[in-house]
Structure formats: C-alpha cells, structure tokens
Symmetry: C2
Subunit: 355 residues, 2 copies
C-alpha cells in the first residue's frame, strides 16, 4: 500500500517537516453537515448508520468533499467494543448512549472477555471500504475509546456528568476496576490492530473521562492501560510503526506523563496552553489541537483570527496537527469550517516559508 498522496498528517505525527500544519477535526463527519443528517435519516438510527459499512463510508467522506481536510477519520463510536462484549448498546432518541446491561459488580466484570472480533466485522469492513474509496488521497485515522473511558460507560451504563460511581470504585474496589480496565485494554488492542490490518494509517485513543480521576488514579487506571494498548499495536503493512495519538480531555496537567505514553502525538483540549506544551514536551511528541469548538459558532472572520492564533501558538516547528480541543458542535455553520481549514493552511504555510 503506497503512502497517501497527502501525507502531511503522517509526517507531522512523526515530527517530520511539512509544508503546512495538517488539519482534521474531531467529529468532522457529523450533525453539523446537512448531508450527514440526510444519510442518518436514511439509516434510521445511529447504530444502523455505524453498522453499515456503505453508509459509514458515505458519511466519513462527506466532510472531505466540502473541505480540504488532511485526514479522514473512521465514522463509528467508541462504545462498539463493549457492545461486542455483550452489553447491548443503543442510543435513546435525543439522549446519549445507553447499555442494556452494566458491568459494575464482581460477577458481571468476571464474566467479561475480549470479544470475538468477528462481532466487530462491520467496523473493519468500513475501514477497508473507506480506505478503497479514499484511493490514497489522504490518510485514514482509526480510533478506539481508552480502556478507562470504556469502563466508565460500562460501570455507569450511560453517560454521566461526574461518573461518581466509577470514582467510588477507584477506592472501594480497585481490584474490580483493574480487572475491567485490563480486559478493555486487550480488547482495544485487538480492535485497533484489526483496523490497522484493514488499512488505518494512524490510530487515536479517546480518553474522554480520564480527566475526572485523581492524578494517582489517572496513572494507575487510564494512562497505564493506554500505554499497554499502544505497546501491543502491530506495525502497518509497510512494516513501520503506525503513528498514534492519545487524547485525555482535561489532561493538561499530565502532559509530561502523556508524552511518555508511547504515543506519537498527544491531543490537547482547548484549555491547554499550546505554546507551553510545545516548549515542554514538543521535542518528544507531536501535539494535536486545540481550538475551542465554540469558536466555530461565531463567524468566518472570528474563526480565521482565532485559528491563526492557535497556529502561531504552536509555532512552525514540525509536529503540530491542527484540531479542535473537543468535538465539533452540531450547531456549527459549515462555512465556518471552510474558513478554519483555509486559515490553518494559509497561516502555517506562511510561517514555515518565513525567512
């Protein structure tokens, strides 16, 4: 498999020089795009959309038809893995994800096992189909939830503002939490390896809830298990290490730890100080981020100004991937995304060309 024609993302992840900062956006395929809502309506439900390789391919490609983004990201959900473990994922109308069964007590957690990857075939088929459809234009990112973040939903059975029951388990039943995170780590590693085998050019771990933990618990349950996943990843078809990204929302105070996770890049949420992060850990890892997604609710001029400020904070040295600091919001006008991508390319190209 040849490298994608536009390999700026892969080069930036490896901290190699690029003519401009590559840009992609978390949730770039999603509800802010009218064409996504049409496909979503045709599918009938979020799960039907995610489970159809043809429709997942369609929505993955939609933002690339509109904007000169530097990567595609598999359209899927982090909770496909616990679903395949038998927890029964569904999405209530107008609400978040919900499991039919939780894994919150000794018996339920003991019964968990790494799922048969055949149950996730629809994801791997989507990866292969998207890869073919991209025809080498831009790289394809695969992804998974972090073992700890998956554990949060498995224990709680749904989303939560504070995941108090999970934080309680940290001190009340650390043995159970450890077992749950361990099985998740093995499942996630197998899941990402199969995405890599089917053509993912890079993979990302989304640790949405690690930031709710004490520093000690973060290291023990979130960071360590992500490190295990990363260490278990196999090389890509070209025999090279597949570039990886870790993103802990709220992890700004743990950047030094994240830089040692074994990932090629660390994603920053919008609260983190990009300039300081580049100074502190930029020699060891690439950094991805970190515009506040709320900026995309304003107007093209404001978006342009704020995006350029992030580019300037990151500086022209190799190893910056532009992204938002969290997923794109459904109310985002698509023309603001166009302004964002143009501003990032223009400003970062000019900075690299400066004498």
């Amino acid at each position: 498999m040849p490298n994608p024609t536009n390999d700026t993302l892969l080069r930036a992840l490896r901290r190699e020089p690029t003519p401009y900062a590559p840009v992609w956006l978390m949730r770039q395929a999603g509800r802010y795009l009218p064409e996504y809502n049409v496909t979503r309506g045709r599918a009938g439900s979020f799960m039907a959309l995610a489970q159809s390789p043809a429709l997942a391919t369609e929505v993955t490609l939609q933002p690339l038809a509109r904007f000169p983004l530097d990567a595609a990201i598999l359209f899927s959900d982090i909770l496909t893995v616990p679903d395949a473990m038998g927890l029964g994922l569904h999405f209530e109308q107008g609400e978040g994800p919900r499991f039919a069964r939780t894994a919150a007590d000794e018996a339920a957690i003991a019964a968990l096992a790494v799922p048969d990857m055949a149950k996730l075939r629809y994801v791997f088929d989507a990866v292969a189909q998207i890869k073919r459809a991209l025809a080498g234009s831009v790289p394809l990112l695969g992804f998974a939830g972090s073992p700890f973040t998956l554990a949060c939903y498995m224990i709680e059975g749904s989303g939560s503002t504070d995941f108090a029951s999970v934080r309680k388990m940290v001190c009340a039943r650390p043995d159970l939490l450890q077992r749950l995170v361990d099985v998740n780590a093995r499942a996630v590693a197998a899941y990402l390896n199969e995405q890599i085998a089917q053509g993912a050019d890079a993979v990302m771990l989304f640790d949405t809830w690690g930031g709710l933990l004490s520093t000690a618990a973060y290291r023990a349950y979130s960071l360590r298990s992500m490190r295990e996943v990363l260490a278990a990843l196999r090389p890509g078809p070209d025999g090279r290490k597949v570039p990886t990204i870790v993103f802990t929302k709220g992890g700004g105070q743990w950047l030094a730890d994240l830089a040692e996770s074994g990932a090629s890049a660390v994603g920053l949420d919008w609260t983190a100080d990009m300039a300081r992060a580049r100074r502190d850990v930029g020699a060891r890892v690439a950094l991805q981020g970190n515009l506040d997604p709320v900026v995309l609710l304003t107007d093209p001029a404001t978006v342009t100004r704020e995006a350029k400020a992030v580019v300037r904070a990151a500086g022209p040295a190799p190893g910056h991937i532009f992204n938002l600091g969290h997923g794109i919001m459904p109310a985002t006008p698509p023309e603001n995304v166009a302004a964002l991508v143009a501003a990032v390319h223009e400003e970062s190209r000019a900075a690299r060309a400066a004498p």
Copy 2:
C-alpha cells in the same frame, strides 16, 4: 478582636508551623446533615435560609457541633452578589439556581453597577452573628464567587454543563465580557471587605468555571479579575493582611499562575497532584485540598486510608490545609466525615512529631 483559640487554619494559610494540618470541608454545612435538612425545611426555601442571619448562623455551626473542624465557613451562596445587582435569584425545586433576568447583551451589561451593599446586609449580619456565636473558638471563613464564575451564571441565567455561550462571548464580544467581569470584581471586593469588617478571619474566592476557558482566556478574564479583587482587600481589624484562598476547579495546569495571584493559599481540586504542587509552588503559597469527595461515599476505613494518603502527599511542611477537592456530596454519611477529620488530625500530627 483576639485571634481564635484554634488558629491552626490562619497559621497554615500564612505558612507558619502548626501542630497538625487544619481541616475544613467545602459545603461542610449542607444536605448530608439531617439537622441541616430540618432547618432548611423550617426556612421554607434555600434563599429564605440564606437570607436569615439567625438560620444561617444555625446551619453554619451545625458541623462544628459534630466534628472537631478547624474552621467555620459562612453559610451563603455565591450568587447573592448578582442577585443584589437586580438579576432576581431563585432556586427551582430539585434544580440549581436560576436568574429571572440575564446579563448577556450590551444593554443589560451596561446597566450593571456595583450593588448597594445594604442589599447584602443579611450576609454581613450573618457574618457578625456567626462570629459572636463562635466566641473565638475557630476562625470564620467568608467567601465570594470569582468575577468570572459569577459572569457565567449572569450570562447563561442558570448553571450549564459547558457554558458554551460564555465561551462564545470570549471570542465574539470580549469587550462585553471584560465589562461584566470588571463590575463583578468591584462588587466582589466590596462584598468581601464588608465580610472582613464584620469579622471574617479569612476569605475564599470560588472560581468554579474558570477551568472551562482556554489558557489565554483564563488569564485575561478569570485570573486577572481575581487578582484585582485580592489587591483591593483591606486589612483585618488587627491591621494584618487577611489570609485569602483562591480555588479554580480544573486549574491544576495553571498552578504557577495561581501561585502569583496574590492569594495566601491555592485550593486544589481532586485531580491535582498535591505532592507535585507542594514541590512546585509550596514555597510561595499554602495549598488547600484535595481528597475526591466521592471517597466520603464509602466507609470509615476507606476514608481513613485515603485521607491519610492525601496528608502524606502534602507532607509535614507548614502550609497545608486539608479539604476535599470539591464540595461534600449530599449522600455522604456523617460518620465518614468524623473518620476523615480524625484521620487528618492523627496522621498530620504524627508526621510533624516524627524525628
């Protein structure tokens, strides 16, 4: 006014040696105490409770009757100040605070002014009455919301999970946000000065939502305005600087900034690394915190173990005030609080006595 008999809190805030680490708990007077719920029922509403100096005194003293805490904290709410500005605060049954009017556009923000402190007389009367009731036993903490955190509620009109409209204003109308934060800073300074005049021995700024901002916006709108408040505080009746505490939830990555805020102490939420914070900024400021409040939902043995771990992380050097990393949760069994206070006193006393 003589110093309180138990002045460990004030000494620790000034980083002077104390025989043990003083302990108090955010929301120590609250719904986890059956006697609080009785008084609250008698008052009829939260606002009626907060606005009655006699009842506010009663609930402020309740936890001190049960536990050997090292400080009392005024029972009130951070939103009394915008209420006095005319926004009409009320608490819906089973919900959070809500304002009758918002201050989200040019006209509403231009119309705001520092309120006549006579409208907040009920707070100052409560301070004076609590101070008399304490009879010099332990210090009394006054408090206010940070100018930015008050702005969040004033713009949104209620609580929010992400305060997207506030973050949008940061880039869309920074001039309006600045004006709002400025008037809040002057109001909060006047409010705290009157609490000090009525007998508050130390004061704390609660910056609950500063952690939602980008680093640049945090410095511009939250940190700077807190610094202005702190700089405007008058000495206590003894002519000495009144010790101060700043607490930004989610501020772990900005500790170096917070240490330069002018406050005597920085509060840490439960995600922050207490040991590292003591090493990094402990020579400049006292540190308060930072047990995860969820630990108090377990059992006395677990609480004891986890509280002692925080005491050990902080070490025996002067300048540690034990607290939770966020407010005590309503489902907390009071016997767990008893175990917590005993564990902190015992462990910190032993560490200081060690050869």
